[in-house]
């Protein structure tokens, strides 16, 4: 684990100062701390002890600057600060805070290094630390990549410890006693003679003390809040309808709008005719959205929806693939040298072993379709532009980019813009995008002085996503006895990073590691082993979908390993164990085997399937149990073992695993976005459904802590779900699922 090294009040926000060099962008730029954004707006009597702790007469506020989209990050991050500050997290106010480069995410790029996560050598670790430099340089405040806890674990505890130290020094000065005679307890400093002073009373004094450089963190053994279930701070409001999502924002005299944008994604709108819409009830205005579509502004969202249907649009067409068949043809066509993107693994001599094996080589091809994020809360944002100021209320995973996009579109300088980050009714990567923010600002700009809430219809949301990329994988494998002696892996898909960064106006400088994520970097040691990624030229927009490349590649790889095990007449778990030396990874596989009684008799028509995928540094093993009924496949149980290195809140981790498994199963069973005439065909939950109560299995979880460091758990439970299901279906029926979604080939009940 990296250490923060010498922490000073001025520099602790920048993360690790242990980095030397900073060759990429220069040490000076990197070492300059970002200013504390709280210092700009302090009211009388308020003190911002760090960018994460604000204290005034009314109490303590902790800034948790990551998007709360269901993963419990608001509670977890605040608890990190509260633990060290010594105050019950239930007794503080918690705010998302303003967009600020000070809240950049240092950990999000860490796994972009060319070292697999099992490699904890000093070279690999140094490379990961270097990834903090570009993260800092861009100042990207992002929630994604299962990185929030990883990023926050030291720096937010250090923020709490630093603030507590300042309060102790303030109390020491106030009481004129030595600091080491003072202690703290739940928001108060206590003197030796039992005098208690609330933090709130010490705040202004604490602001002026000079901090020592050697603030220390508590050992784990002294934790009072971390390491056990913490009641989520957002739970009561989310169960009483009082939580404010973006779509719930209310402003005085607000109007309601919706948008219609070219369903040929990325193409322009030549013209639109409002004759049948402009005079409809409730309609206040119909406005162009740059050159991509139009917005209807009305007195009620439903009036806006109705009128939007009546606008006649003349849409331009796109130049890229117009049908699902063409998409997959483009993936197949990219399996060549010209489109080769990466070859991060090339062990032994794959060609020689496969050549020698000849016809005994096992060839397999697998496919995954485009998928929509389909968050429960459709895209929306609320904005008002008035007197050279802009306010935007939105649930976003990237507030700093939201701020710069709002500035670009409105023409207002960033210092006069406020982005208010609300709860997200689901993210899954969709709210990394800027489109819903941009359109709301475009509307607000044309209706100066009026607040407007812009809500997309479900149909607009479903057909204007940036999708999980389609992909094709080709494997060639050779087995000898019960061993795999050679494995050649080729995968072809469009690049998430090229597409996503392109929309932010940045070009991707090198290969996209997400194309081969969960293929090249798995814990398997195979003597002759090669993984090659091919990049399909950019077409339909693609983006991060919970677990990114691992969401399809985990299915490909773990289906192939299962096929090889069966061909070799080997037990799928024993074969995997024979390929793995990394002990924490072995442990999750052995744990899940125990949980599911793997190896004992399986009832008639039942089948068990296993899969093991490491993503975001977390090895997760899952076993799915299905029964083949006369009406179709029923998923009964899912057993999950995951190693997070260190569990801050096991109950919340369990929730994330359950969520991730159901997300992965839903995609595998029924998720598919198809293209026809250049447009997405699925429009709503009737033709793009997800798992529901009657299909949801019982999910048994086990959390292990053998890994080398703390890891995030929002995504890693997703990738093994699809292959474990495919392997279970094979065990129960003898049918091999090589294409998602499986309901194209088999029924589910």
């Amino acid at each position: 684990m990296s250490t923060l090294g010498k922490i000073t009040r001025r520099t602790f926000v920048i993360g690790s100062t242990a980095i030397t060099g900073g060759v990429l962008f220069g040490v000076y730029k990197y070492k300059q701390p970002y200013p504390n954004p709280l210092e700009k707006n302090l009211a009388q009597g308020e003190t911002a002890l760090t960018p994460y702790v604000l204290i005034n007469a009314n109490g303590v506020t902790i800034i948790a600057p990551r998007a709360e989209m269901g993963q419990g990050v608001k509670t977890t991050l605040a608890a990190l600060v509260a633990e060290e500050l010594d105050i019950d997290v239930q007794n503080v106010r918690i705010e998302h805070g303003v967009p600020s480069n000070a809240y950049y995410n240092a950990a999000v790029l860490e796994e972009g290094v060319p070292f697999p996560p099992q490699d904890t050598s000093s070279t690999a670790q140094m490379a990961r630390d270097f990834m903090h430099v570009p993260a800092k340089f861009f100042g990207v405040q992002v929630t994604g990549g299962s990185s929030s806890t990883v990023d926050a674990f030291e720096k937010m505890r250090m923020a709490g410890a630093t603030a507590r130290e300042a309060l102790l020094l303030a109390a020491s000065a106030k009481l004129n006693v030595a600091k080491n005679t003072l202690s703290t307890d739940n928001g108060e400093v206590i003197s030796k003679d039992g005098q208690r002073i609330a933090y709130t009373e010490l705040a202004s004094l604490a602001a002026s003390v000079e901090l020592p450089d050697d603030v220390k963190l508590k050992p784990k053994s002294e934790w009072k809040q971390l390491g056990r279930p913490i009641p989520r701070v957002d739970m009561v409001e989310k169960c009483t309808g009082t939580a404010t999502f973006g779509i719930d924002v209310l402003q005085k005299d607000m109007l309601y709008a919706t948008i219609k944008v070219n369903p040929h994604l990325g193409a322009k709108c030549h013209a639109f005719d409002t004759n049948n819409a402009a005079n409809m009830k409730g309609v206040k205005a119909i406005l162009p959205l740059a050159d991509v579509g139009a917005a209807v502004v009305a007195t009620n969202t439903w009036y806006a929806f109705k009128a939007a249907e009546k606008i006649d649009f003349d849409w331009a067409k796109t130049q890229y693939a117009q049908s699902t068949d063409e998409l997959f043809e483009s993936a197949i066509a990219a399996f060549n040298e010209e489109h080769q993107d990466s070859q991060n693994r090339d062990d032994g001599d794959v060609d020689a072993v496969i050549g020698a094996a000849g016809d005994a080589t096992i060839h397999r091809e697998y496919r995954a379709p485009l998928l929509a994020h389909a968050t429960m809360e459709p895209m929306n944002a609320t904005a008002i532009m008035k007197d050279g100021q802009l306010d935007v209320w939105v649930g976003t995973q990237m507030p700093t980019y939201a701020l710069s996009e709002a500035a670009r579109v409105s023409g207002i300088e960033a210092q006069n813009i406020r982005i208010h980050t609300t709860y997200l009714g689901g993210g899954f990567g969709r709210r990394l995008e800027m489109d819903f923010i941009v359109y709301a600002v475009m509307v607000a700009k044309q209706l100066e002085g009026t607040p407007v809430k812009v809500t997309w219809s479900r149909e607009e949301d479903m057909t204007h996503d940036s999708y999980r990329p389609f992909a094709v994988a080709r494997f060639e494998g050779v087995t000898q006895g019960k061993n795999i002696t050679a494995l050649d892996v080729k995968v072809s898909s469009p690049s998430v990073m090229e597409s996503q960064m392109g929309r932010l106006g940045v070009s991707l400088p090198g290969p996209d590691s997400t194309i081969v994520q969960a293929l090249w970097d798995q814990a398997y040691t195979i003597e002759n082993y090669r993984v090659t990624g091919y990049r399909v030229p950019m077409g339909i927009p693609v983006s991060s979908w919970r677990s990114v490349g691992a969401s399809q590649n985990g299915f490909f790889n773990e289906s192939m390993i299962d096929e090889l095990a069966i061909e070799a007449n080997a037990d799928p778990i024993e074969m995997r164990l024979s390929l793995i030396t990394h002990q924490p990874t072995r442990n999750v596989l052995e744990a899940v085997a125990n949980m599911a009684n793997w190896g004992s008799d399986v009832a008639e028509n039942h089948g068990l399937g296993v899969a093991l995928v490491t993503s975001f540094g977390v090895p997760v093993a899952e076993i799915v149990e299905v029964v083949n009924t006369p009406r179709g496949i029923k998923i009964l149980n899912v057993y999950v073992a995951a190693d997070v290195g260190l569990a801050i809140d096991s109950r919340n981790i369990e929730a994330q695993l359950i969520s991730a498994v159901n997300f992965g199963l839903a995609g595998a069973m029924m998720g598919e976005i198809t293209l026809l005439d250049g447009k997405v065909q699925q429009t709503n939950f009737h033709n793009y459904d997800a798992i529901r109560m009657h299909q949801a299995p019982v999910i048994h979880t086990k959390i292990l802590e053998n890994g080398e460091r703390i890891r995030g758990i929002g995504e890693p439970g997703t990738p093994p779900a699809a292959p474990a299901l495919a392997n279970a279906i094979f065990a129960a029926t003898g049918l091999r699922m090589r294409e998602m979604p499986f309901n194209k080939h088999i029924q589910f009940v």
Partner: protein, 154 residues
Amino acid sequence: MQINVNGTQHEVDVDEEMPLLWVLRDELNITGPKFGCGIAMCGACTVHINGQPARSCSMPVGQVSGLITTIEGLGTPDAMHEVQAAWVEHQVAQCGYCQPGQIMSAAALLQMNPNPDDEAIDHAMSANLCRCGTYPRIRAAIKAAAQNIREKSA
């Protein structure tokens, strides 16, 4: 026209075809019921009309007759309904967006069936989609709430 929501009578001047959801959300600022699909496929908009669960996104306000209860009328943070309390106890919500609808469906189920088995829960809850996949905890919370309600009325 007049509608009664959570015990309060409201006069609203809207198109009779307007779905109840949009009257609640945009006319009366009652934002607990959520917009998810607009075609009664996700259940996020579920409210009670005379105690029966209804998908307010697909119910024209002109056809509504009876007392409307939304999540706000079921219970409040300081005085939660048994179902809401069980939801908190079991830490059900993740993103939380679908949960007002889930809770309203569950409360209606327990009103009709004080001791639902798994099949009854499947039947009553399958119209409510949750993309976070919180179903196991929803099931556990429904059973806990049912038990608490039975014990209280015993």
